[in-house]
């Protein structure tokens, strides 16, 4: 059997194990076993390699951004951000839905993952939206879809992983998804305003000017300590004060006293619980990462990427067709695996192909970023949508239709634009000299 066939078999095993609900680290273990038993690959030295990769300081961003995000959502920081955004758009018809998108974008500038957004805004926004006349399923779909902006507005765990496995500047990757991320925020806001026309919304009674201003000032000053958080992270990184890892640590250390003393959401037991939950999530992610990396390394050792490039080139060499095909591939991959995994497995395989057709690694970062983000809400494996359903207490049948509308009008256009219009992803990094 040739190596491509064996690799495909090992991926098939991976998918079977995934569908049965085997924990992800062991799914990769199963694929590794297949490569070793049938492909002549060896685990000898692979553990050494994997462990070395895992000790890489770049990855340390991940636990710290997850921790920062969890503390933010537990401490009341997120809630005060929501109220702040509400000052600006809360009054218009459908405004509450816009609040969801925009708050998730701001929270995205603190946390590295999509789950944080749902966890932080869902418990506050979904009940409130439902109370104001939005269908519960729609509210859940909107919050889940928007919270993926956490992966597109820097900093982002997926971009850290991408930059690291492909040896591309992580800061450039962060900026590459910013354009598509802002575009999605705008599209979600528009889609929401259009959809809201059909909902029996209950609007707040109009207030007089003086009251509005007074309330605005109070809420803004309440929100300042919270708004400092994204400022510290982005300003610290791009202002040359600290590395992304350090910025994440500073955000954690900043959020603790703010959560305990200013917003008072944190108590000792809430903090311990949040730390434990972060550590558990981190452990699950990192151990999954190490085994998926080992699988990817075995593919590299067996020259699978080159074989793949040659194989694809015998089908077509047309750049546009290839990019569209790759988006379909990424869409299907996104349906069955999670963001980080998809990047670890696919990015090193496809990057040589991308370079051969003249797509820069930074643009490819954005393509992978948007596709893997969308994967978080595309069933059957839609971790972020499912978490949203749990928080919003709605059934899959209620949430799927609005989710599909948001995906079709929010993500899909941006996915294709990111692929076919390089400036969407390359312009902002270009401003920073990447």
């Amino acid at each position: 059997m040739d190596i491509v066939t064996i690799s495909l078999i090992s991926l098939a095993i991976l998918i079977v194990m995934l569908s049965f609900g085997v924990p992800l680290p062991f799914c990769f273990g199963g694929a590794l076993m297949t490569m070793c038993f049938f492909g002549g690959a060896t685990m000898k030295g692979t553990m050494v390699w994997g462990f070395n990769q895992l000790s890489n300081p770049v990855l340390l961003c991940i636990p710290l951004f997850v921790f920062a995000g969890t503390i933010m959502s537990e401490s009341g920081i997120a809630a005060s951000l929501l109220k702040f955004v509400n000052i600006f758009v809360g009054r218009i018809r459908g405004g509450l839905g816009v609040v969801a998108s925009v708050s998730c974008a701001i929270i995205g500038a603190i946390s590295g993952s999509g789950l944080t957004g749902v966890a932080a805004t869902g418990p506050l926004l979904i009940p409130e939206m439902a109370e104001k006349g939005y269908p519960r399923g729609y509210a859940t779909a909107l919050v889940a879809n928007s919270s993926i902006l956490g992966l597109l507005i820097p900093p982002s765990v997926t971009m850290i992983i991408y930059g690291w496995v492909t040896d591309t500047s992580i800061l450039a990757c962060f900026l590459a998804t910013l354009g598509p991320g802002l575009l999605i925020t705008a599209l979600f806001s528009v889609v929401n305003l259009v959809m809201a026309r059909n909902f029996p919304l209950i609007l707040d009674p109009p207030k007089n000017m003086a009251e509005t201003v007074k309330e605005g000032v109070t809420l803004t000053s309440r929100a300042i300590p919270a708004l400092i958080m994204p400022t510290i992270i982005l300003g610290g990184i791009y202002g040359g004060i600290m590395t992304p890892t350090e910025a994440a640590a500073v955000a954690v250390i900043y959020a603790i006293p703010v959560g305990f003393m200013i917003y008072k959401g944190l108590t000792w037991s809430v903090f311990v619980e949040a730390a434990k939950n972060s550590a558990t999530a981190v452990g699950a992610i990192m151990v999954m990462i190490v085994f998926s990396l080992m699988l990817s390394q075995i593919f590299v050792m067996e020259d699978v990427p080159q074989a793949l490039v040659q194989g694809v080139f015998t089908i077509t060499q047309n750049k546009i067709i290839l990019l569209i095909l790759i988006n379909f591939l990424l869409f299907f991959v996104g349906m069955i695996v999670n963001d980080v995994t998809s990047i670890i497995l696919i990015a090193p395989l496809l990057l040589p192909l991308m370079e051969a057709i003249g797509v820069s690694p930074v643009q490819f970062a954005a393509i992978m970023g948007v596709n893997t983000a969308m994967g978080g809400v595309t069933p059957p494996y839609a971790s972020i949508l499912y978490l949203g359903m749990r928080i919003g207490k709605v059934e899959f049948s209620e949430v799927i239709k609005p989710a599909m509308i948001l995906i079709a009008f929010g993500y899909v256009p941006v996915v294709f634009l990111t692929s076919l219009w390089p400036d969407l992803s390359l312009f902002i990094p270009g401003l920073f000299g990447y």
Partner: protein, 307 residues
């Protein structure tokens, strides 16, 4: 079986081309019996982990710096200011010299056979801002330099008036670009051109250390070859090394010129200034590192260095 050779630089760099020459020449010399395939850009892991993998036989060969995680005595290869000139370097690092035998023995303990040396460059300092008294080791410069995680370089930066700042290599480029640090120490013109050219505004060729990489092979693999094959591979490796010694000095000049053409200012440093720095380093840095590698063993190695 095709032997996998790993190295740390991108495709089409000097080492990549030389290894391709090695690969083709070896194929010819062995009647295509010994086939090799090159994995550039640390595709099989960074040099530390590749050295371990060569020791285990999971990667067959590599051409890269020695990794001191496995044995801290490898630091002796990179003693700062140990050699002054290319001629002296060749006398000390090439086959037959006492230092070479020491290195071969250290590799041997890692289950690795040393085939050849590949001299790279004399190191220097790359800065993203104007240098401050670059020739004077006593002047406090207020410049933050990213140092690799090796004691020799950390001490070297601190003792010559810089603020040595430990950062992982993977974060070094962006750290210089955003201004977390002002520059980098531990590499040379070739390395800076390869990885830091966009943030190198000034290059100070202060001969910090002599960088040399080694072409290594798993020991069992080598021992298992027939005597003819061992001879073939050793011969081609020797040619690979000799070609490089003939080329290296010119290559270093070419890399400095490339940096300059790319927009960097090459800061002139005189021999006297280098000598003054060397004297300070020998007095203040060497004893500390010698302590770490075992004073008695280290002094014996240093004593055998030829002028």
């Amino acid at each position: 079986k095709t032997l996998k050779i790993s190295h740390v630089r991108p495709q089409d760099t000097a080492i990549d081309k030389d290894l391709r020459w090695f690969s083709e020449t070896l194929a010819k010399a062995s009647d295509s019996k010994i086939k090799t395939k090159i994995y550039p850009a640390s595709a099989l892991g960074d040099y530390t982990v590749v050295q371990e993998r060569v020791g285990l036989g999971a990667v067959d060969m590599a051409c890269q710096p020695p990794a001191s995680a496995a044995d801290k005595r490898f630091q002796v290869v990179y003693f700062p200011y140990m050699v002054k000139s290319w001629e002296q370097a060749r006398r000390n690092y090439s086959a037959g010299a006492p230092l070479r035998n020491v290195v071969a023995e250290l590799y041997n303990e890692q289950n690795i056979h040393l085939l050849a040396a590949w001299p790279v460059y004399f190191g220097g300092i790359a800065l993203n801002r104007e240098p401050v008294e670059p020739g004077n080791p006593e002047a406090a410069k207020g410049i933050k330099l990213r140092v690799p995680p090796m004691k020799t370089f950390q001490l070297l930066a601190d003792k010559t008036g810089y603020l040595g700042t430990p950062l992982p290599f993977s974060e070094a480029f962006t750290a210089v670009q955003t201004g977390v640090v002002d520059g980098v120490i531990g590499s040379g013109a070739e390395g800076y051109y390869s990885s830091f050219r966009d943030v190198t505004k000034y290059y100070i060729p202060s001969n910090t250390h002599f960088e040399v990489w080694y072409l290594i092979i798993n020991k069992e693999l080598y021992d298992g070859m027939s005597p003819e094959q061992q001879k073939e591979i050793t011969d081609v490796a020797t040619q690979f090394e000799d070609r490089r010694w003939d080329m290296a000095k010119a290559d270093q000049a070419a890399n400095e010129k490339q940096l300059a053409d790319y927009g960097a200012t090459i800061v002139p440093v005189t021999d006297e200034q280098i000598a003054a720095t060397a004297a300070k380093i020998k007095k203040e840095v060497w004893p500390q590192v010698l302590e770490d590698v075992g004073a008695e063993w280290g002094e014996k190695v240093l004593a055998a260095i030829k002028e």
